[in-house]
């Protein structure tokens, strides 16, 4: 219908309509983002405002006794152990998953494009549709006993947690990176090859730097997912509220603790508020890591 009408009035109209439509959607999205962030901020701050817990104690104490009666020195809500667990597991998972994803994405986009696209990409995206609890169950059935028998410890460990997690975030990173590699103009690669570079040189010096935006986004989304994942990780890390001393020790994460206790604590109690504060902190922490990551990757890219 647009083909036959090419008058100035119509063109202006469709332009205006498009602008309004996209702006409306953006406003809805922004409102929903702002409302959930403010909701969590309000809920999360009540630990400090209503219950009067000091931020310093919350962040830097390892004493988590929300159920202890006042006569025994409670209740205490220090979450350092949880923070440590979350950061360790998420960082290790990204460190393992990111290089693997780059390899897979480059493989699918550049080395074996035909069957890579037809077969490999759908199967990697299949990983995104497996329920967390199934990952957790497989981890519990295979990985935990394997670690216990071959490496040591109880099996419930940081190691098991980040291995499961790195598989879970793989599809996100691979998918974003592959698509941005594929959308690069063919000429980039051809020019690089014509100039006499090997395939590796063209990948490493031309294609990956050119797809840098996709790479950052993929890793950032993967990292964010790693911080947020709860059910699967929680099944294989043992959830022990104690500072781990090695990679085969059990550990607990912020999201794991939130998932385990949220439903069982009444809303408005200190305990429940502390869990919301942990949720708020998860957000702030991943925000911080995303900023750092962007900074590092941008810098590295420019220097090249």
């Amino acid at each position: 219908m647009k083909n036959n009408v090419a008058t100035g009035a119509f063109r202006l109209n469709s332009e205006l309509l498009g602008r309004l439509l996209t702006m409306g959607a953006a406003v809805i999205a922004i409102i929903s983002v702002v409302s959930i962030v403010s909701f969590i901020t309000v809920k999360g701050m009540s630990t400090f405002i209503i219950n009067g817990v000091s931020v310093k104690e919350f962040l830097f104490s390892t004493q988590w006794w929300p159920d202890r009666p006042p006569e025994n020195g409670g209740p205490q809500v220090g979450v350092l152990v949880f923070i440590f667990g979350s950061i360790t597991i998420a960082a290790l998972a990204v460190l393992l998953s990111a290089p693997l994803s780059i390899i897979c994405a480059v493989f699918m986009a550049e080395i074996a494009p035909s069957w890579g696209q037809r077969f490999l990409q759908p199967s990697i995206e299949l990983l995104a549709g497996i329920p967390s609890v199934v990952y957790g169950y497989i981890g519990l059935s295979l990985l935990v006993p394997f670690i216990r028998d071959n490496i040591g410890g109880m099996g419930f460990s940081i190691l098991a947690g980040f291995l499961v997690l790195s598989i879970m975030i793989l599809p996100t990173i691979v998918s974003v990176l592959t698509d941005s590699l594929r959308s690069l103009p063919r000429e980039y690669k051809e020019a690089a090859l014509a100039l006499g570079s090997t395939r590796w040189q063209s990948i490493c010096h031309v294609l990956i730097p050119a797809a840098r935006n996709g790479l950052i986004t993929g890793i950032v989304l993967g990292l964010a997912r790693a911080f947020g994942e709860a059910l699967a990780v929680q099944m294989v890390i043992g959830n022990m509220r104690k500072m781990p001393t090695s990679i085969i020790d059990p550990v607990i994460t912020l999201t794991g603790a939130i998932t385990m206790d949220m439903g069982n604590t009444p809303m408005g109690s200190l305990w429940n508020n502390a869990l919301w504060s942990m949720g708020l902190f998860t957000l702030m922490m991943s925000c911080f890591f995303i900023l750092v990551l962007r900074f590092v990757v941008r810098k590295g890219g420019v220097a090249r």
Partner: protein, 294 residues
Amino acid sequence: MNSRRIDRIATVIFWSGALAVIFFLGAIIGYILYHGGKYIDWGFLTKPSQAISAGGGIGPQIFNTFYLLLLSMSITIPIGLLAGVYLSEYAGTNKLTEAIRLSIETLNSLPSIVVGLFGLLVFVNMTGWGYSLISGALALTVLNLPFMIRITEVSIRGVPDGLREGSLALGANHWQTICRVVLPAAFPGLISGVVITCGRVFEEAAALLFTAGMASPAMNFNQWNIFSGSSPLNPFRPAETLAVHIWKINAEGLIPDLRRVADGSAAVLILFVLGFNLTARWLGRRIHRKMTAT
């Protein structure tokens, strides 16, 4: 000479890395299908589930999963797509859009149980809809919208500027350029985004426990009036999806044939996701070919 050797080593690394991932992938999928595949039969796929006795199926859960997917995607995709277009095409690069972008990325790290409780307070309690499909669909939208927006933006940004400039030079306005040139060129990326988002709907449990609920009351499959309480299409009825069902029986299930239902459901879910992905990709390729006329 040296760079040739590096190239060869790199090729070996890429091949072995990709093969290793394929191997693990195959192992996981094979494990799930092997353990659950043997329980799948027609009765299992169609019968209603049982709370305490053996022999239950997953019929209503399958229906709920797809219906919820449809509901939540019909909200998430248009809003996510248009908002992504706005952020990448219309919004300028200033501090405000940067902040929005950052919060969108950060929101991805929300544990889904937090989204679930947000949904419980806002969609379930405040609106008075109760545990319902629509509450679940909105909670899923809150969960998936950031990802959808970000993917749209990245795919659009990946479109070379030359295409845009060509279209504008030919006299198309900005909106026409977006619809006819930019979106078709970004289509493969958009499809991946949609497929991954749908995958998250298939697998999500924690956010739905508190919004769509974990009960599936009897449905009357002859009642297709959307406003009837027993109609499967009524968006205001509570509904349990397959992933929630798997979670529920794994966690606190008391049925004697727990492993049969849990493993069978997982295998069914994998097959659905696989079928869905392949169909979406196939459709996407066809549409893409039509749009770009190649």
